[in-house]
């Protein structure tokens, strides 16, 4: 069975500093990996995905993530944090043969950017 771990409940970063939100996964075979962001009282918004190819993927709002197969990780990063980046971030995984299966999400990490 596939699973995702987000080891940090909360990450605090000063505005302008780089940020990292951690994610590790467990899946049989090659994974499809996703990051989503949720603002209060809103649905999830897609940020970026890794399917195959270059290990560094770039997404919306200046975010990027690095796929590391040996460490089974897919950490979310941004070079310079904005206060508006404060939100709940979810990492998710899906197996290639998943077809119509839903995503398996991590428990989420609250990102707080301090002015």
């Amino acid at each position: 069975a596939q699973s995702v771990a987000q080891p940090e409940d909360q990450v605090n970063v000063a505005e302008g500093n780089p940020l990292t939100v951690k994610c590790t996964y467990s899946v049989s075979g090659n994974p499809y990996l996703f990051w989503y962001v949720q603002y209060p009282n809103r649905g999830l918004q897609f940020l970026l995905k890794y399917i195959t190819g270059d290990n560094l993927v770039k997404g919306s709002y200046g975010f990027e993530a690095e796929f590391n197969k040996s460490q089974t990780s897919f950490h979310l990063k941004k070079p310079s944090a904005l206060v508006s980046d404060s939100a709940l971030y979810f990492c998710a995984v899906r197996e290639p043969g998943g077809g119509a299966d839903g995503l398996t999400f991590g428990k989420g990490t609250h990102l707080i950017i301090q002015p």
Partner: protein, 113 residues
């Protein structure tokens, strides 16, 4: 224009009642989903459905049933509501292949009195 829309946004009702939540997507996607987000923000897939198959998470009680009148709609019916059903329910849609991102509605907050 909202891509995935759910109604109602809020639903407050009593234990034992039957209720429905509607979901519509205008993205031309062929697969739709229902997720449950609990009070700790944990998200779990309940159903996924396209015109070929319905996949049910085995942990979902049979009081919950999805109904799809057409490819653009996937409604969620809940019978005999229980206190533990209180949560936020999200509808989502995507193209049916596993490497495509899902697009989410803004959720329906269900509160059982």
């Amino acid at each position: 224009d909202t891509a995935v829309s759910q109604t109602p946004k809020y639903l407050v009702t009593q234990m034992g009642n039957d209720k429905s939540i509607k979901c519509e997507q205008n993205l031309g996607h062929d697969t739709m989903y229902w997720y449950k987000q609990d009070s700790k923000k944990f998200l779990k897939i309940m159903f996924s459905y396209n015109n070929k198959e319905l996949i049910i998470n085995e942990t979902v009680p049979n009081r919950f049933s999805p109904k799809s009148p057409d490819k653009a709609h996937l409604n969620l019916h809940i019978n005999s509501l229980e206190l533990g059903d209180s949560a936020v329910y999200f509808c989502a849609s995507s193209h049916g292949t596993a490497n495509q991102p899902q697009h989410f509605g803004d959720g329906t907050r269900l509160s059982i009195l």
